[in-house]
Each structure stands twice: as C-alpha cells, then as structure tokens.
Amino acid sequence: MSFYLRRVAFYLVTFWAAISLNFLLPRLLPGDPAAIMLGKLRRASGGRPLSEETIEAITSILGAGKDMSLWDQYVAYWGRLLQGDLGVSSTRYPAPVAELIANALPWTIILVGVATVISFVLGIVVGAWVGWRRGTWLDHLVPITTVFQSIPYFWLALVLVAVFSVQLGLFPIIGGYDVFEFPAGPELSWAFIGSAVTHAILPAITIVLSSVGGWLLGMRNMMVSTMSEDYVVTAEAKGLTPRRVRTKYASRNAAIPSLAGFGIALGFVVAGSIVMEQVFSYPGIGKLMIQAVQGLDYALMQGVFLVITLTVLAANFFMDLIYGFIDPRVRHNG
C-alpha cells in the first residue's frame, strides 16, 4: 500500500509546486503584469472604471504592488483558486476565464484524445510485427520513422493544408466547424457533427503521422529485447505456435513500457497540440493559450496553464495506479 501512498504524496507535492510556480513567476520576474493586465481590461471595457471586485481578482492573481506581504498574497491566491475563480479575460472581455476554458476543453480532448489512441494502437501493432521480423528488410522502416518524428508537427500540418486544402480542396482550411452554416455556435445535430468531423480529419492525421513513429520504435526495440529472453525460448522450445509466442508471450511483456508512455501521452493530450491548433485555428485549449500569450492576457494564460498542468498530473496519476496493477514489479521492487 505504501506504493500508492508515495505516489499520492508525489503528485500532491508536484501540484503544489506547479501552483506556486504559477504564483511566483509574475511576481519574481521583472515587469508588472498586473498593471499591464488592468490597463488592458480598462481599454476592453471601453474606458469605464473597473469594479473593485475585478481589480481585486487581478491583483491577487498577478501580484499586488508593495502594500501586501508575499505570504498574504500567497494565501489570497490559494483562496481564490479553491473557489474556482480564475479572473476575467481581457482579450474576450468580459467573459470569465473559467467559462472560456470550459468551452474550449472538449474540442481538444476529443480531437487529440482520439488521434492519440489511434496512433498508439497503430504504433504498437506495427512495432510488434517489425520487432518480430527483426533482421529482415522491415528493419529499414526504423530509420524512416525517425524522419517523421523529427518533422516539426506544425510544419507537417502546414504542408498538409497546402496540399489537401489549398491545392486539392478536399478539406476545410481552418476552424473546428463551419461557422457560416452554424453561426449560433455548436449544436447537437448530425449536420454539425459531420461538419466537425471533416474539420478534424487533417489535424488528426497530423497528430497520428508525427507521433506514430515513436510508438513504433519503442515497441520494436522492446520486442527485440524481449525476444531474446529465456521464457520466449522456452515457449518456442515447447512447440507453441509462433502466433501464440508472438501475441501471448512476447508482445504482452514488450508493450509494458509503451503503456507507461501512453499514460504520459494521454496527459499531454491537452498540452501537446498547442502549435497545431494555431495552424488550423482549431477552437481548443491550445488556441486559447496562444490568444492569451499574444494578447498579454495574463489571467487567461495562468488559467489555461493551470488546467493543462492539472490534466497532465491527473493522467499520470491514473496511469501510475493502473501501471502498478499491470506490472506488480514496480510495487514490490522498491
């Protein structure tokens, strides 16, 4: 049981560290983000004076002059976070940051989540096969996958857009759905889902192409290592069919490290596609983050960063629990 306790403790410490980093960065780095942010809010509200409440929210998030000790600010910061109050956005004034994030999150999770699962399954299946057939021409696949891994994925997206959308006109260029057909925003109808799916195809292909190589390579290398284990030789010597040796003996054990990697990849679903969302103007979390950074909307930026960190921690934690179950060695080999 101490394995799980230690994991819980680790993630609690990390969570605390991430929040404290969020708190300290705008206060310790030179410059005055709170002043910049308040100025932007004033302009966004059309010159009307801001309410006391808004000013207080911003200063407690980004730092309040000299009249408050750092410790008091820290306590106030936590208090605000625990109430779920992330402040008001200046680029999309007067929308609250929490609401903007809630609207953007599903887009990213569905698109990148599905693409990550496809990429993982494809990489594991092909990687197991290539590892099984080690020493044949299939080994030449390995260096090729690295080329795909080294391609900046947003550049791949640019090339795909140029070829399939601009030249061939097969797919829409930008957006998450057709804004002219659905001016009122997302709705629950087949037409809307169809529109969203066509808009998601190119981004999904980009993610799969640029990430499948890593899974393939990792699985192939583990497969090659596993195949020279004695228990695989034993299985072979017992006269089991090659298919059984491959699936029940070698692949199952070779896939364990990849599963750990899958947990991490799931965590990076929300964080991993920031630049790609910019290329496609996809209405997800990444696009929101970019908007915030470019518009110096520090409150929105902090909120998005917080959500991204939280999802990574949650996914890692979840995967740790499952991993301890799949591979008991990590629980006992302290």
């Binding site: 690295t146 891994q149 990590v330």
Partner: protein
C-alpha cells in the same frame, strides 16, 4: 526512492535495463544482462578472430555504421550550410528583389512577400537555429549532470531532494511553461535588448529541457557508484569531485553524447514552435521565425511553398540526422539492439542453406 519516480522514468529505465550495467529491476532483466554479457564476449571473440580491420576501438564503434555515417553526413552538411551559407548569400533582409518570386537560377529558393531572398534567409536561419540548439543543449546537459550524476553518486538525502525536483520538472508540461515564461520575460522592462534575444530563448529552452536526461544519467551513475574501481578510488582517498569527473563521467560519455543530441533536437524543435507562435527572438533570424513570417505572410494560402517548405525540411533533416547518430550510440550502449537482428539474420540464412532446424519459428 526508486518507487517514487514517475512513469517516464520507469520507461527510460526499462529501455536501459537491457544495457550492460543498468540496475536490475527483476530477475528477468538481470538474466537478460547476463545474457548480453555472454553475447558480447562471444562477439568480442569473433571480432578478435577476424582481427586486423578497424583497430582496437572497433568493438565500441557500431560495426556496420551506415546509420552513423548517414547521420554525420546530414548533420555535417547542415552545419556547413549554417556556418558558410551566410558568407556567400546576399543580405537576408535585402528587400530590393521582387516579391514572391518562385525559385529561379537567380533566387534559388525564390523570394518572400517582402522581397527577401529565401535561400539567404535559410542560411541565416540555419545558423540561428543551430546556435540556439547548441546553447540550449549545453545548458540542459550541465543541469542534467548536476541533477542526475550528483544525485546518483551521492545518494541519501541529496538524492531524494534532487530526484524529487527532477521529477516535478519532468511532469510539468514543457511547451506551456516555456510559453508562460517567455510571455512574462519578453514583456518585462529592465532586461533591455536581452529580453527577446536568441540567447534568452536558448536559456529558457535549456532550463526547461534537462529533466529526462537527468533521470537516465542518475540511473547509470547509481550503478557505476557500486563498481569496484570506484570503491577503490574512494579507498585510495580521492575526493568526490575527482571521482565524479575522472572516474565516473568518462564512463558516461556515450550516454552524455546521446542526451546532448536529444537536447539539441528538443531545443531546435522547441524554438521552431515558439517562434512560429511569435514568441521567438526578434533580432535574429531562425528557422522558426521564417515559418512565423510565412504564416503572417499567408504563404500557405497563396501557394508560396518555397517560402515555408525549406525551413521545416531543414529542421526535419537535422532532427533525422541527429537521431541516426543517436541510434548508432544506442546500439553501442545496448548491444542487444544490434546483435539480435544480426543473429536472427544469420540463423535465417543458415536455415535457408539447409543447416537450421526450424524455418517458421520465432528464431527463423
């Protein structure tokens, strides 16, 4: 403390557990290591029998180094282009040319919307990106050595603290942190011209990109610490600093090289992403700022492929070349990756010649 490492750590460990001296995670991997040792001895014997060709370092260099040579050639060509290209190309911000010319003998890669010569921009951009990659790679490597090797060698409380910090940095997502730091730093007064320089971008990328390497180095340093020759050095009264730098680090060279290469790839890709979002250096030209210019100049929409394809292609080629070098290093560190396919090939050949006993099994 092993059990409080996050999952990535474990994955890395697993991939190195098959190397010749990683800590054993299980009887199976211990056995695997022993087996590797047997294979290595056998290969050494064969190599000795073949003798003559290659000299005495042959056994630590990849035997059939097609990957290594390809990688070195690609990286070398790009480096030469980055060093000497800017000397022969026209000034990169010379807007006397016509705008958006397609490639021609006069402008090998055409011109941009502002009339800049793309070939010249590419030469300067390669130089800028290589500079950022190298600086960030060195910074990351230094931090990884401090947090990884020191933690692994000294153990105890220092190890606990350093490892906890490493794991926290490892779990917090990289690009968003870089974006947040860049957004604060670049709009801060008081930093002056440094605020948006490529040096600062390189430092930010280096500071955020060392954790993975530190985990790998720590595992290896922990195992080296228990070797007899290190114990002998300690008994002989050598100081910890000397043991780390004279006894341990030389044995980590292949790993350090591999981690440095990872660091450079990470930084070049990171710079490209950051610059593409408009958070890159403003003063200098990099491959990422070229892509950003192409984005704001509607290069994709107007079909000006010569503007945005070359910078990405250089990044991809550089990354692929560096990865190939890393593969070659990996096959030295983990001989199984090299030996198993060769053995399988040899057995299949033998089976084909009628000398084998099986022709469909796992070892055929």
């Amino acid at each position: 403390m092993d059990d409080s490492q996050p999952t990535l750590d474990r994955e890395v460990l697993d991939s190195y557990a098959t190397g010749d001296d990683a800590p054993f995670q299980s009887p199976a991997s211990a056995e695997a290591v022993r087996e590797t040792a047997r294979e290595t001895t056998a290969t050494a014997a064969i190599a000795a029998a073949r003798s003559s060709r290659g000299g005495r370092f042959r056994h630590i260099l990849p035997s059939r180094s097609g990957k290594l040579i390809t990688g070195i050639v690609i990286v070398g060509l790009i480096a030469l282009f980055g060093i000497f290209g800017p000397l022969i190309a026209q000034p990169p911000r010379d807007s006397d040319n016509d705008a958006l010319l397609p490639p021609s003998p006069e402008h090998w890669l055409g011109t941009t919307k502002l009339g800049y010569d793309v070939f010249s921009q590419l030469a300067w951009g390669t130089q800028g990106s290589l500079f950022i990659g190298l600086v960030a790679g060195i910074v990351a490597l230094l931090l990884a050595v401090i947090f990884g090797v020191f933690a692994g060698y000294f153990g105890g409380v220092l190890d606990e603290v350093l490892t906890l910090f490493t794991n926290i940095v490892l779990v917090i997502p990289g690009l968003p942190v870089v974006m947040v730091i860049a957004a604060y730093v670049q709009n801060a007064e008081g930093l002056g011209p440094l605020a948006r320089s490529s040096l600062l971008v390189a430092l930010v990328l280096g500071i955020t990109g060392w954790a993975g390497s530190a985990v790998v180095l720590r595992a290896q340093a922990r195992s080296l610490r228990t070797r007899e020759y290190v114990a002998a050095a300690r008994v002989a009264g050598e100081k910890p600093g000397r043991i780390i730098f004279v006894e341990i680090l030389p044995n980590l060279v292949p790993l350090l090289a591999a981690q440095f290469i990872f660091g450079v790839i990470f930084a070049v890709l990171g710079e490209a992403g950051l610059s593409y979002l408009g958070l890159g250096p403003t003063g200098s030209i990099t491959l990422g700022t070229m892509l950003n210019d192409a984005q704001t100049g509607q290069a994709v929409g107007t079909g000006a492929w010569w503007w945005f394809v070359p910078p990405g292609a250089i990044i991809a080629a550089l990354g692929a070349g560096l990865s190939l070098i890393n593969f070659a290093i990996d096959e030295v560190v983990n001989p199984k990756l090299r030996l198993a396919p060769e053995n399988a090939k040899r057995q299949r050949k033998a089976a084909k010649a009628g000398k084998g006993i099986a022709d469909t099994g796992a070892f055929a």
